[in-house]
């Protein structure tokens, strides 16, 4: 579809770009003080995000899914992930209200960068061209580097930002090299073009060609694995999560990961279109699926085992988010219609429960000024409502019924078992055993909150802030969707298809 006619389909992105620009320009020209600064700018950001969400919901359907000459692809899956990215950003804006981890004189930039990040995630979710993937990943990464270093209380945040830049720079460089290899081998940069070239190319018939293709795939996976924080490209994750301001960490653990999964799925189905319809037939995609399967196994196992030893809640949740990337990779491996559907359901659930858990961390941090597990001792008696909400999130992250997390896992396991076959079932078995391991460290937090009593006289935990309110509000759907999850099933039905 030519450029001008494509515009109505990217109105959400336009709204985000306009909002981000407005935030930066207004800050520079007007330099507001007081209430306008504290409340006005977050409201403006929220308004822009809401507009984007409304445009997204109302976006016209189109027979031709490729826009701007194939740079962007729109299908139900990308529409859904764009929604997840926008909602996650809105929640991060809400969490940031009054957060002590953000310097008050740079609040506006923070919101501008968040909206810009949302724009990057939306573009990444629908990118259908290697160049677009690269550009979108860079938008997401650059804004993330800045946001990670935003907390100016002590050097942890700056360290996080720098580490993130170093790892991110290497990862995207490697990925770019992978792209160039693919272009050299198959002579195309659009995913659909690559898919056709791959199907008819004679490159794969030679040994050297096969190895070069495999190498290119590994390099691409390095860049995408960095975005979803999959092992072995996860090393940045605990340090960045710990150092970054908590409201941003909450977003980082969900938004870029969701966009990363969208592009991972699209890359797979672009190169091997048969993956989207029937994963069993896609024998040509075996090396890709094998890479993903091994990555999934290693990611969830390493994430869960490493989380056992963490005493800082943000680090613990960082390793847990690594493990969850491993779970979601199971859905990518399963493929077909059910795999992406399961990933979409899991993303929706993960959005609610993970941001909820970070909201609790943020609320406790405001009173206790620490994320150490020690400050959670006796939380069940000091702030019962907050502790109860945290318990719901933790059980949901473990995947115990009747919580939404269980439904997400059910979809992932069901997609693998329905697919059948030795390796698929084995992956499912590894997945459930990992759930058992994860119980151990999530239960450590439960134990701290309910089984142990606080030493001395800890500061009272206040519930009168946006983070605590969000935590309590998010706990409701986490529980309700576990008891009646027909809405999640609708998501799975809707977003199962990729073009």
């Amino acid at each position: 579809m030519p450029t001008l006619e494509s515009l109505p389909h990217v109105l959400p992105e336009v709204a985000l770009a306009v909002t981000a620009a407005a935030l930066f320009v207004l800050e520079a020209l007007w330099q507001p003080r007081g209430r306008a600064r504290r409340v006005g700018f977050p409201l403006l950001a929220l308004g822009g995000l809401l507009a984007a969400l409304l445009f997204l919901v109302a976006s016209p359907s189109s027979a031709e899914p490729r826009f701007f000459g194939g740079l962007l692809t729109q299908d139900p899956f990308s529409t859904f992930v764009r929604g997840v990215a926008i909602v996650a950003t809105a929640l991060a804006v809400g969490l940031a209200l009054g957060s002590p981890s953000l310097p008050s004189n740079r609040r506006v930039e923070y919101h501008g960068l968040l909206v810009l990040l949302a724009l990057g995630m939306c573009l990444l979710s629908s990118a259908g061209h290697l160049l677009m993937i690269y550009v979108a990943i860079e938008i997401v990464s650059l804004t993330s580097y800045l946001l990670a270093g935003f907390d100016d209380r002590g050097g942890r945040s700056a360290e996080a930002g720098l580490k993130y830049v170093l790892f991110g720079g290497v990862a995207s460089g490697v990925m770019l090299f992978g792209f160039s290899l693919l272009f050299g081998l198959f002579g195309d940069l659009s995913l659909s073009g690559l898919g056709q070239a791959l199907a008819h190319s004679t490159t794969l018939s030679t040994g050297a060609g096969r190895w070069a293709t495999l190498l290119a795939l590994v390099f691409v996976l390095a860049g995408l694995g960095f975005k979803i924080a999959a092992v072995p490209f996860h090393m940045w994750c605990p340090d960045v999560y710990e150092g970054a301001p908590t409201p941003f960490t909450a977003l980082l653990s969900v938004g870029p990961k969701a966009a990363g999964f969208a592009v991972l799925l699209r890359f797979g189905t672009g190169l091997w279109p048969e993956l989207a319809t029937d994963a069993a037939a896609a024998t040509s995609a075996l090396p890709w699926l094998l890479l993903l399967g091994v990555m999934s196994t290693v990611t969830m196992t390493v994430g869960n085992l490493a989380a056992i030893w963490q005493d800082n809640l943000k680090r613990l949740l960082a390793y847990s988010s690594i493990a969850h990337a491993g779970y979601m990779l199971m859905g990518v491996v399963a493929g077909g219609r059910e795999g992406p559907g399961a990933v979409a359901v899991y993303l929706a659930v993960y959005l609610i429960m993970n941001i909820g858990a970070f909201a609790v961390v943020s609320a406790v941090d405001r009173s206790a000024h620490s994320e150490d597990i020690g400050v959670y001792h006796g939380l069940g008696r000091r702030a019962p409502l907050l502790a109860l909400a945290m318990a719901v999130f933790l059980l949901s992250l473990t995947g115990l019924p009747p919580t939404a997390g269980f439904v997400g896992k059910l979809y992932l396991f069901a997609s693998l078992i329905h697919h059948g076959g030795f390796w698929y079932v084995l992956l499912a078995v590894v997945g459930v055993l990992n759930s058992v391991v994860s119980l151990y460290f999530y239960a450590r937090v439960l134990r701290a909150m309910f089984l142990e009593s606080a030493a001395g006289e800890p500061a009272p935990v206040s519930l009168a802030n946006s983070a605590a309110a969000l935590a309590v509000v998010l706990a409701v759907p986490t529980l309700a969707l576990g008891i009646f999850w027909q809405p999640l099933a609708a998501i799975a039905n809707f977003s199962g298809s990729l073009f």
Binding site: P402, V425, L426, Y440, F484
Partner: protein, 538 residues
């Protein structure tokens, strides 16, 4: 087929949940009404009683109206729940589950009464019944909902959700209100049972996708089903499924399910969580754990493994019997070495649950009736034993068997009750334990001669450890330290006397229970009996 629907089981299952909500409201209303801590505690206790005792009344109605001779599923409540996975809300009881539901109602009521602080010294503010009462009662009620639900659910997914629902309150009840090593015991319980139930989850999904198209209760078409009765009708189909991990489909699924249930039984070698959990848990929680939770294991086997995967059940017959015998004899020997009264009772539970495994493996009418009757009897006797251990612990603050002596002089009533419960547990004729163990041994002997003879020796060891304990604690020279202990109080009488009365009555006349379950159980094992040549003809 048009089923008559009734909400009796739904009310029974979810009335405790109303109690949980009411306690939550009470806590929220506390600042508004300016209630004292004492008032809130009493309110929570009252709400727990008010939402538990009705289930006892409902279970009486159920017992009265259940048509044992007709068999089949009764008191059905059946409606679609989540259409995406063809999940239904399907509650109902047959001869197998009706006794378990009654047991749950009875033991839950006993446990709630046992959680009251009546008769506990006023200065003992660290007693579990005085700490964080609203939370305790709310979790206890949540546990009740899970237990009722497991025995009533006939949709596999519903069964699984309720099965998992039991874990969480149990973790907190042991972990917050338990003994010195409570945290270790609680997480061990949680991890063991979760490890088992995730295997059940995978098996359940595999069965779902292997099932053939059918209809939901409202007539809509369903590509697959979680309905356990329909899955059982399709049992032959599962034999034809493609292998899992290179092994036969039904055997893999059977083993996964069996391990999940065996951990709950608990079957050797998965039993090590039980002594820890029991020793640390407060008395009423031990009562529920031994009385009801352990029964979920064999119940699951008889509900899932037997009817849905019959070929694999036949294949595993000897394995189940051998593990049953190991449970009986090994745990009995372990009992001989115990110094802690509660640990002794815990291991005796392991031993007695072995009879259930042995009886159900035989596929004979006597064997299966004995097995399920043993589940019922153990559900009456072991709660009584844990209450007895609680009585002495509340008074002496320890449970060392060697630390007492001559208690019969000052505590005649307690001694008499204990003696009766011990005798019932070791299988003295005239008390209920004898009937079920005898049925199991009679039913198993024609099938497994050597295994049954070995298992029968467990009865002798059981007699030995109970009589030795009796002698050390109650007979001999009075330990002067405990000369001032008081005999049973009214709370303890209220919990112990009904259980002891049942031991005597059902020991002489077991038919009220056996009549309920026999038709269902006999038709459950008939196909197996025909296959193994025990019964010829239809």
């Amino acid at each position: 087929m048009i089923e008559t629907q009734t909400t009796l089981l739904t009310w029974m299952t979810f009335t405790p949940l109303i109690g949980v909500a009411a306690i939550g409201l009470l806590l929220m209303a506390r600042p508004l009404l300016g209630l004292s801590q004492r008032a809130v505690d009493h309110g929570a206790r009252l709400l727990a009683l008010l939402t538990t005792l009705p289930s006892l009344a409902l279970s009486y109605v159920m017992w009265r109206d259940f048509d044992g001779a007709a068999g089949g599923v009764q008191f059905v409540h059946h409606t679609p729940w989540i259409r995406a996975f063809n999940i239904e809300y399907f509650m109902g009881v047959d001869g197998l589950s009706v006794t378990m539901v009654m047991l749950t109602a009875l033991i839950s009521s006993v446990a709630v009464i046992a959680s009251m602080p009546w008769g506990i010294a006023r200065d003992d503010s660290h007693h579990f019944s005085r700490r964080q009462v609203p939370g305790y009662m709310a979790l206890l009620l949540l546990l009740e909902t899970g237990m009722f639900g497991v025995f009533c659910a006939l949709d596999f997914f519903l069964f699984y959700v309720l099965w998992e629902l039991v874990l969480l309150p149990m973790y907190f009840l042991i972990g917050i209100w338990g003994g010195p090593r409570r945290e270790y015991a609680a997480i061990k319980f949680f991890l063991y049972t979760l490890a088992g139930s995730v295997l059940m989850l995978l098996g359940m999904i595999a069965l779902y996708y292997a099932s053939e198209p059918t209809t939901l209760v409202d007539g809509t078409a369903a590509a697959h089903t979680f309905n356990m009765l329909k899955l059982a009708e399709q049992a032959n189909r599962f034999e034809l499924m493609a292998p899992i991990l290179g092994l036969p489909f039904t055997k893999v699924v059977w083993v996964g399910m069996f391990i999940a249930f065996a951990i709950k039984v608990p079957m050797f070698p998965f039993h090590t969580w039980l002594p820890d959990a029991h020793v640390e848990a407060p008395t009423p929680i031990s009562v529920l754990l031994a009385g009801v939770l352990l029964k979920m294991g064999p119940y699951g086997m008889l509900r899932v493994n037997y009817p849905i995967l019959p070929e694999a059940t036949l294949w595993a017959q000897w394995g189940v019997a051998i593990f049953g015998a190991i449970n009986i004899v090994y745990a009995a020997f372990v009992c001989m070495a115990q110094k802690d009264l509660k640990k002794l009772i815990a291991y005796s539970s392991v031993s007695h649950m072995g009879f259930v495994l042995l009886g159900m493996a035989a596929f004979t009418p006597q064997g299966i009736s004995g097995a399920v009757y043993q589940m019922w009897n153990h559900g009456i006797i072991s709660p009584a034993l844990f209450l007895i251990a609680g009585v002495i612990y509340d008074r002496a603050h320890h449970r060392e068997i060697e630390g007492f002596g001559g208690l019969s002089k000052n505590l005649p009533e307690y001694t008499a009750i204990t003696g009766l419960a011990f005798m019932a547990s070791l299988g003295l004729p005239g008390l209920n334990g004898f009937i079920s163990e005898a049925l199991v041994l009679v039913g198993a002997f024609p099938v497994f001669k050597v295994i049954t003879i070995v298992s029968a020796s467990g009865v002798i060891i059981t007699a030995a450890y109970y009589l030795l304990t009796m002698q050390r604690v109650f007979l001999g020279k009075l330990n002067e330290k405990y000369a001032a202990l008081r005999d049973l109080n009214w709370r303890e009488r209220l919990t112990l006397y009904p259980l002891v009365a049942l031991m005597v009555v059902l020991g002489f006349y077991p038919m009220p229970i056996l009549d309920l379950m026999n038709p269902t159980l006999h038709s459950l094992v008939l196909p197996f009996a025909q296959r193994t040549g025990l019964v010829t003809g239809p």
